[in-house]
Amino acid sequence: MADFSDEGGNVEPDLTPLLDMVLQLLMFFVISVNFKTAHFKYGVQLPVAQSAMPFESTDSSDLIINLKPYVSSSMDPDAEGLSVEEQEYRRRVREKFSPGDGMARVPRVDYDMRIIELKFWLRTQFEFLQREAGGDASKVVATIILRADTSTNYEDVYNVMNLSKLAGFRRIKYGVIYER
């Protein structure tokens, strides 16, 4: 039996197993962390596809477009517990969109765009990337990553694909949930 009866002084706890466990936890989180999620927070419910692949590492110039339909019930400005800013934001969205319209959100732009606004944004982005590539459009390697909500109308998704091509982009990937 352990004798703890000695008086005075400190018992030295063995920190090694604790350190081992913490390092193992650390290793688990380091392996499974995905910092790209910052771009992905937009309440988009992605469709499911069995033939999909895990996300490859994306190029820094890749453009992520989130797309979902406007649903008026989820944008009630008078709902309880909303901040003044959120109420104001919802009122603006209500004025701008009709039910079923496609709402597009891209990184570093803090408002929802109509598809027609996305057209100008895509063109501006491509022109910028082209300038970065020394004016040669064929050297622009950026990929469009389209994260469309499962309930988005196909017409809106198709329009975004078409506008991407018209702007000059040549590659597109679709965000999905993959199942095995």
Partner: protein
Amino acid sequence: MTTLRKRKPDSQDRASMAYVTSMLDLAFQLVFFFVINFDPSREREGEMQMSLPPKEEARAQNPQDVRDVPPKTDDIPPLTDEYKVYVDRRTDDDFTIRVENGLVKKDFSRDQKKQGNELEEFKKYLTEQYQQKKEKIEEQISDLPPGEKEQKFTEEIERVGVRVRGSHNLNWGSMVQVIDVCRQSGFTNISPASPHDKPGGDD
């Protein structure tokens, strides 16, 4: 009998303890950071690659858009064989599929209320079609040397395309289901096409 011996830590022990403690502090801070940023729901998010709409599809919808047409890009080579897949919305989750290949037309549907899911039939049909095309190409290139054979096969199979057209109000989720089946059946050249129930959308 085990006893925990108590002894006065010497200067070397104190130094090593201080080292372990600070390391543990740092490790805890890192663990806390990763716990906060950990989002298991994102782990299953993936990507599906597909061609952009073919060249003839990227047409201007309004006259003022004509100047937007970009300089010539590396468009996909012309198809030797094409499957046109039309997907029409019935309800949020149910839809019908019509496949046209030359004069051959087949209809399928997905109805959750019915017992039989014809999406499986659609997959079976496309898989058979893919196998037939594959065998035909393999027969055509059987005289080529092995190195060239693989390259030629890839080129030829890429020229058998599946063009998927949805109705304008079809859910993107339903469209992805159909495209997913096309990919699983073996086809690689799959491209979305304009909604077929809109003016100028059908061919």
